[in-house]
Assembly symmetry: C2
Homo-oligomer: 299 residues x 2
């Protein structure tokens, strides 16, 4: 197995690109894929203030590294979700990564600042843990980006994440979610920062390989709350499909972005009010996060 | 395991309906599902002249039986595709079925009438066999329905067929095919009969069970040309999904029909001309079937 570029011994095969790569050319390949994605979808430029959601996992740390190497100044924000050792370990790994590279990492602590953890919120609200977690993450990241005047919120969703979410939305034909599944969500007047996903051309095994090859120490364990969640099951299914037909996953996602998404125009968003408790934009009187918090603290 | 209706011993479990059925109530259930589909999509009524595409397999023979039991007068048309013993066996089974019930079966013979078989056409045109077969079937069924003045062409596609085709179209985001994936395609001025699929609420294992329980002798073997074809792989794949989440397949298909299809409006069809050779409607000078025939006879 030889590198497509230099014919030296390859360390990884990327079947959907019909290519094998040595370490250096794989890293170059990944950087090029991300640069291409940023450019193609006009995600941001050097003048924008960028804030990256950092979980301590392979995707967000790999992306932080890539963006740095591409010359972008990016700050990180870590959300402590109160998921036992998993959260403390992920925080350590994120802090170590940032300190070793002189990068700025904001830390927000859900239990300390809002009085509850994701497991507590999931139990009290009877939501799936990933649902309570996603809601809290979106809320706090938006809030921090707004308070600290960042222009762009950068997220580490990879090809597998996006394809699995798209599959889930298609299985249910959820037109509203399909309309919002885009690599760039523009900023809104009400204080939501622009949201971008520069990793969508990079598969999960590739971000893992990139992190390993770059010597990035990341949280290897899956979140203990996510065991058996639907998106992970869809990922496994799509991976089996990918084994049979390399490229099918990327074809599905980019086919949607190129030809499908136009059939799901962004519906007029409802006028947003300010949440009675926190002042953040919401479609109702009290925002979903404040309701989650209230239910959890009452329990 | 007891029948949902009569609490006698059940012979089949239909997980997505959370139900078990004895023989009689399963048959009644299937009849009701088909009657509901015909009604809901306004497929046809007693005044329409109906022509059913009959392959000798479980779906078309089961559907013929069901439509009879529901009181519709339906003629059948069998297409001999020249696929060796498989074709002769399927023809025998279709003829036996029709004769035993006093039903009228038209037979069209591709090799005898058009000078070539599906395997020959596939080889000569370098199409996948299922593609050459589908093209020939659509052409000849349309032609016969037109010549013999049938109002409606009835097809035996079941839930699994439709879900797999939808999945295939979604994986590729083929908007044109998605726009045409409907339970009813209206008749056109140029001579295409209305096309309907009354079996779309019935899964493949249910049409098989129905045929067995009704003592219908059908072609059990898969078409030897279809081994490993893409749609069959998607069916297997969706079946694994269905095992984990009963109902996901029907949810996917009917979610599309209820909420998805509106996003893929039927584009204005191009004006159709008459094929220079056969006079059938076509978008080009010579229709795809006549081109397939010419390529094959030349080979």
């Amino acid at each position: 197995m030889k590198c497509r570029v230099c014919r030296q011994r390859a360390v990884i095969q990327v079947k959907r690109h019909h290519a094998n790569f040595c370490k250096d050319h794989f890293i170059e390949h990944i950087h090029r894929q991300v640069a291409k994605t940023i450019d193609e979808y006009k995600m941001f430029d050097a003048a924008d203030r960028l804030l990256l959601g950092v979980s301590g996992g392979k995707d967000s740390l790999a992306l932080w590294n890539i963006l740095n190497e591409l010359g972008y100044a990016v700050d990180g924000v870590y959300l402590h979700l109160g998921i036992g050792d998993y959260s403390s370990e992920s925080l350590n790994l994120s802090t170590n990564f940032a300190e070793a590279r002189g990068l700025k990492l904001q830390v927000s602590d859900l239990p300390a600042e809002f009085g509850f953890s994701v497991p507590e919120a999931a139990a009290a609200s009877r939501r799936a843990p990933c649902s309570a977690c996603g809601l809290s993450k979106r809320y706090i990241l938006n809030q921090i980006a707004d308070e600290l005047s960042y222009d762009v919120l950068v997220m580490g969703h990879n090809l597998d994440d996006e394809a699995a979410t798209l599959f889930s939305n298609v299985l249910r034909w959820n037109a509203e979610y399909l309309a919002r599944q885009r690599p760039v969500l523009p900023a809104t007047n009400e204080g939501f920062a622009r949201k971008v996903k520069p990793l969508i051309r990079v598969a999960e095994r590739e971000t893992a390989a990139y992190a390993v090859l770059q010597g990035i120490d990341y949280e290897v364990d899956e979140c203990p709350m996510a065991a058996g969640n639907t998106i992970n099951r869809y990922k496994e299914w799509l991976n089996r499909l990918e084994e049979d037909s390399p490229g099918v996953k990327a074809g599905f996602l980019f086919g949607f972005l190129e030809r499908g998404v136009e059939h799901f125009p962004n519906a007029d968003r409802p006028t947003l009010d300010s949440c009675r408790f926190c002042g953040q934009p919401t479609t109702s009187d009290v925002c979903a996060f404040c309701r989650l918090q209230a239910v959890t603290l009452r329990a």
